[in-house]
Amino acid sequence: MFCKLALRNVRRSFRDYGVYLLTLTFGVCLFYTFSSLDGQGAMIYLTQSQNPMAQVIQSCIDVFSVFVAVVLACLILYADRFLMRRRKRELGTYLLLGLSQGQVSLLLVLETGLIGAASLALGLLLGLAASQGLSALTLSMFSLRMDAFGLALSPRAAGRTVLYFGLIFLLVMGFSGIQISRAKLLDLMQGGRKNEELRPRPLRTSVLQLVLGGVCLAAAYAILLTFGMAFAVVLPFLCIPMLTLGTVGTLLVFRSLSGFVLRLARSYPGFYYRDLHLFTLRQWISRVHSTYLSQTVICILLLLAMGITASSIGLNRTIEAAADGQAPFDITVQNQNADHLGCVDFDALLTAHGMESDALAWRQDTPIYYNNPAVTGIEDASAAIRLSDCNGLLARQGAPAYPGPLPGLLAEGSAPLATGNLGLTCVVIPDEMAEKLSLRRQVWSADYAGDPEETEKQVQAALAEYQETTAYLRVESRLSLYQEIMGNKLLALFLGLYLGLTFLLAAAAVLALQQLSQAADNAARYAVLRRLGAEEGMLSRSAVQQVALAFLLPLALALLHTVVGMKAANDLISTAAKVDTVHSALVTGGVLLAVYGGYFLATALACRRLALEGGGAPGGCG
């Protein structure tokens, strides 16, 4: 009997459950997509090439998954509380009809279970599609081919998703059960009758709050911009006041708005009394009174979402740019023991291992010497390189030759002399001066002629054998560097997208839930307006305007925060390399528009429909 009732309830209140279901489904989808990373193209590629970053990415995602699960749990609990509040009367009626509290709890548990199972199935299906999409995206980012890697449901990820969300649903069931068993029948029956207290605030208080809020925000911005992202975030005595000031400032601004906007609007009767502005503003203000707290939370969630997404994309581009600068040649081998073991004849070594001599398009064997100030006359350098070698390396990259003087320090920021890192400050010396210096290191660089992966495999095999028997060789190739950078890129991108999307989803879902439940409460008010002869256009405009106010205000403040935050973040990143701000801003904007805009549109349409339907008879309304 209960199963039937539960099923019917879910089907009947599908509109209420709609956003709940949507949010759950998105949550499951997001969670699954990132849990199943290990089965996705680029990650398989990393694992196959035994890149250590694969492990790092996996464990990072695992750790953050717990965090995301907590956020989603809070979101789902919140959504559940909203639903419960809307159904108070119905639940009260069950109790009044003689069902025991245990039975009503059971009913709720069944309903939650039903919704949970449906959203889990739907979310996993969507997640399967989304992970395919993400896989294709990352593959195309690194220009890898897709067909090499099959894609199927990852049982491990699916298992984790079911486990985490099962726990969350159990939690939700427990909470709603407790709520029912502790609720008083009277409160349940009169749930809808509670009037909102509207205490008009003195204008002076509102202005004071606004000014105070502005000062707090300005102070927080000043801390961030003066000390820079690196210090402001890491040092607790800067970080804590900055975050506190930012939060309090945001809170005060939202709190002051309710008293403020009304006065402002009222002093323009031509605006206030036109159309349904009067009604729209009053509706909004009556909510802002009680929702300034949630507006602040939404604003901060949006800030996190935009900030993280933009930074991760910006960082991503920066790492890529840094990679090209680090790998001028296909391979560089550094013989670190050349000073006491002597040089290695790499050409002979390779030929001995059966490599054709035309496998390499270019090679150069460069000796690096210890810098002796008595000879070179330059104190602050650790090594010396001959002019002809230096110019040979520069010419291969198409960089201008060393301009002089001789001997002289190689300017910082000039083209690199090896793939990977030399780790030395070099003096450029005339070729003949080298005879007076002792050998420090042998650096052998080469470019491949044929297929890079094949050639590299051969070279690595030859070197590995030598390395086992004799000396320590440091081998860095463009391919290995690229893979490492690809790992970093993926880590930044995955974490950024994962967290950013989670926060964005949370903010949008909370707003949508609030707006929808309010719109349903407003049905009676719209019925009155209709009886007074308000046209459909007026009603729908008013409904959409209310949603827009709720969605755009936190967004506006969050955008301001993000711009300041991104400025600081970019300053930090740009100390390492140049940042592509325009690109990251564009991508972030696109993601934001898609998710937040989608929720906004869906909510606005639903609210509009709620305002327009509902027949003629107005319901009770005090």
Binding site: L198, P269, Y272, L278, I285, V528, G533, G616, P618
Partner: protein, 255 residues
């Protein structure tokens, strides 16, 4: 005086074949401008259906309704909304004030909907509020006012647009006797001084005795009509009671 409302052979049938309810069964009614008419009847006699049809909220099955010579049954969509907005004023049993708006704003809202220039709004709201005796609580929210004040506020909202016809559905239904009397007295003043035409549905004989004319409905048909003829209200009240008793008596006969 000119005829304002003319209802001819109005019929409203609910349900399908087999289980038909005739809520209205050939009702003829005529109101002149400036009249104050009450409609009485037991529950299920069709009085609310009649009011809903006249107020264009419900659509009759057949018959015609004309206001100022304009046929209502043919109106659709925008024209209907416009007619409702410009020609009608409503007072409901539960006053249906918007709880997020002050009394002033509640009254002003119906002017906003009519697209009245903002400059005129303050004067018109205040004037109407004075007339209904709520000039001192315009800045209060509905929950800060008494039930009677709320209902008079709703009445002010209904007449501030100067409608041709004010429709009231059991306006005193949720009020105590003192508040009822105050509201009815104000409605009378409105009718007398502003010349507002009022059509009021009620099942309370006392409330009905304030009207100039009372129409009795039974089983969807007009059963009787009483005119006050400028006479004493108490005498009119006795007359109404007599008809109501007769109505009730016949009901018992039927049973």
């Amino acid at each position: 005086m000119a005829e304002l409302l003319c209802v001819k052979d109005l019929t409203k049938v609910y349900g399908k074949r087999g289980a038909v309810t005739r809520a209205l069964d050939g009702v003829d009614l005529s109101l002149e401008a400036g009249e104050y008419v009450g409609i009485m009847g037991a529950s299920g006699s069709g009085k609310t259906t009649l009011l809903n049809c006249i107020s264009t909220i419900d659509r009759p099955t057949s018959g015609s309704i004309q206001v100022d010579g304009e046929e209502l049954t043919g109106l659709r969509g925008r024209a209907l909304t416009r007619f409702r907005r410009e020609r009608l004023g409503f007072i409901f049993q539960d006053c249906n004030l918007l709880d997020t708006l002050t009394a002033f704003e509640n009254i002003a809202l119906s002017l906003s909907i009519l697209r009245t220039p903002a400059a005129q709004i303050r004067d018109r709201v205040e004037e109407t509020a004075e007339l209904l005796g709520i000039g001192d609580c315009l800045d209060k929210y509905p929950y800060q006012m008494s039930g009677g004040q709320q209902q008079r506020c709703a009445a002010a909202r209904a007449i501030v647009t100067r409608p041709a016809l004010v429709l009231a559905d059991e306006p005193t239904g949720a009020l105590d006797s003192k508040s009822s009397r105050l509201l009815l007295e104000r409605l009378e003043v409105l009718n007398r001084e502003r010349g507002a035409t009022i059509l009021m549905v009620t099942h309370d004989a006392f409330t009905a005795s304030c009207c100039r004319r009372v129409v009795f409905l039974r089983d969807g048909k007009i059963f009787a009509q009483l005119e006050r003829d400028g006479g004493d209200r108490r005498a009119f009240f006795q007359q109404i009671i007599r008809v109501v008793t007769q109505l009730g008596g016949e009901m018992e006969d039927v049973l």
